[in-house]
Amino acid sequence: MAILGLAWKSLVNRRATAALTVFSIALSVTLLVGVDRLRHEARASFANTISGTDLIVGARSGGIQLLLYSVFRIGSPTNNMGWASYQDLANHPRVAWTVPISLGDSHRGYRVMGTTTAYFQHYRYGRDRALAFAAGGPFDDLYDAVLGAQVVRQLGYRLGDELVVAHGAADVDFTRHEDKPFRVAGILRATGTPVDHTVHVSLQAIEAIHVGWQGGAPMPGFEVPAERLRAMDLTPDEITAVLVGLTSRMAAFQVQRYVNDYKAEPLTAILPGVALSELWNLMAVAENALLVVAAFVVVVGLVGMLTALLASLNERRREMAILRSVGARPVHVFALIMGEAGVLTLGGIGLGLALLYGLVLSARAVMAQHLGLHIAVTAPGGGEVMLLGAVAVAGFVVGIIPAYRAYRLSLADGLSIRV
């Protein structure tokens, strides 16, 4: 143990070099653990893009495709599902609630989604977080719209502003629903989910703006004045998909089978969690590549330590001879250098963690607000402890190189001091 005291004092004596070495290891550790944590938070955040919804039901298609257009508003549905099928599903005894959604229109690059006010009540993201209004409230009038946070940030709308919805995903002049402008009735808080990029209107509004349309274009002579539509029956014939909440999670497979075997129309029901993790696995390559890069940065940090220790050895041969003269054995010399490598590595890990927590604490508010990424301040998890353990082991393994060299030198030099 005397040797560890010596190692410590020797490092304190060379504190400038030692501090730089510790700092470079610390930065690499911060990067490694930070990337790992961000990776897990991103995965958790992604997996929680939609939570609390037990099933998503749409026309027969692939699970990921259904997930992509119903939750991420990516791509277009190939088919819609009938209103009658929706009614059957909503009346299933195991179904607690349903949120029908209807897609197909857009507003200046943002998707417009028709739904019911049940959406604001039942949609959950993250760890059971409900949608919250930054201003206004759910749509009330037929021509009310509720905007996601990103739509407002990019387009600068305020409550009461008017906006015009375009037919289809592309905003082309002649297919705008110009005769039926919407009024901004509510603005949602940022969620970090596709909700931020969505313009929400009622299902009836989607129906209303398409009255008199055929094949994706208004039919000349069939224009209906916006005010007259209020008196009409605006129950849709078709919707795009349904978010379903069940009376019990246990019923998920039973209802899924009911939907998949539904005779009147070919339908697909997916478990959102399963489809989300399938989708995430498609991106796992990029995620792992990031971690590999971070691991290489740690290697660079440790090589820096190796360089510093090896470079110091030659000028320390005198010190080794003095130690040998007072009875130190070559293994003591080995332990001295190992001790220094250990102090540098562990110091780097400790400082790296401190840096990481400092960063998380100072950046979490900003990340939650702008990215919707909620990073919890928790003790290092099992995976992180493994990573840190791996860094420590790597540090000691790297330390063996200069320690063994010092051992060889002190064996060869003995008490004769060579400069």
Binding site: A2, N13, E319, L323, S325, H332, G414, L415
Partner: protein, 253 residues
């Protein structure tokens, strides 16, 4: 006694009181290389203060390495304190050195990152025996270190706060002497410790060293090429005269 042994006290007595006893030694660095040190017999008595004189190349460093147990003789017998160093293993020789030998180098004796007292205490970190001996004399290791430094005129408080690298060469050598004496080892080996000092300081340093060795009963083996110091010692051994190895080149001192 051996050829080339001269001294004021005549022949070195033989017997059980010998601290160093070398017989029929032939040392070579490598089995295929030639012999660099060949000693028929070399003996140093307990409590003696012996001057081993030799020009560079006469085998001084080799001899010191053998006595300190860093090198090991494959031919002949090297006894220190009645222990056969040539038959001990490497770890046992290191322990032996830690317990029984104080060593002073020519210069740069101190570990730069340790304080003066920590440098003096250092041998006690590697030898329980020397720690216990130091604690028999003083209540703590620090107190014993300061006591020894005081005897060597190094107890001024101003020295304690300064890094050891800021001390003068003479001061550093006195700290090194205090370290070698710490824990009262039986044998003190000094390898040209005065060569960096000028005349007056050289002699005052030696007198301090003699006094301390006498006080702790240590045997002093002092190696140097400087014949002017000879008169201060009880006995002088001329290494060049007793080394039977034919040295064609001066290698390694």
């Amino acid at each position: 006694m051996s050829d080339g042994t001269t001294g004021t006290h005549g022949q070195a007595p033989a017997g059980d009181t010998a601290v160093i006893r070398i017989r029929d030694l032939a040392f070579r660095w490598h089995p295929r290389e030639s012999v660099v040190l060949a000693l028929h017999e070399l003996m140093v008595e307990r409590g003696e203060q012996v001057f081993i004189e030799g020009p560079s190349g006469s085998g001084k460093s080799t001899l010191l390495g053998l006595l300190a147990g860093v090198s090991v003789a494959r031919q002949g017998e090297v006894r220190v304190l009645d222990r056969r160093l040539d038959t001990l293993g490497a770890a046992a020789r290191d322990h032996f050195r830690a317990h029984h030998i104080g060593y002073i180098f020519q210069m740069f004796n101190l570990i730069p990152y340790l304080s003066m007292t920590d440098n003096v205490i250092l041998p006690c970190r590697f030898s329980r025996r020397r720690r216990q001996r130091a604690l028999q004399r003083s209540p703590s290791l620090e107190a014993e270190a300061l006591r020894l430094l005081g005897h060597l005129d190094m107890d001024e408080p101003a020295f304690h706060r300064r890094p050891v690298t800021a001390l003068s060469v003479g001061q550093q050598q006195r700290v090194a002497a205090a370290r070698a004496l710490m824990g009262s080892p039986e044998l003190l080996i000094a390898d040209e410790p005065t060569s960096a000092l000028d005349g007056d300081r050289r002699e005052s340093f030696l007198r301090l060293l003699f006094d301390e060795c006498r006080a702790s009963g240590a045997t002093l083996v002092f190696v140097s090429h400087d014949r002017s110091l000879e008169g201060l010692f009880q006995r002088t051994i001329r290494l060049a005269d007793i080394n039977g190895a034919v040295l064609t080149t001066a290698t390694g001192g």
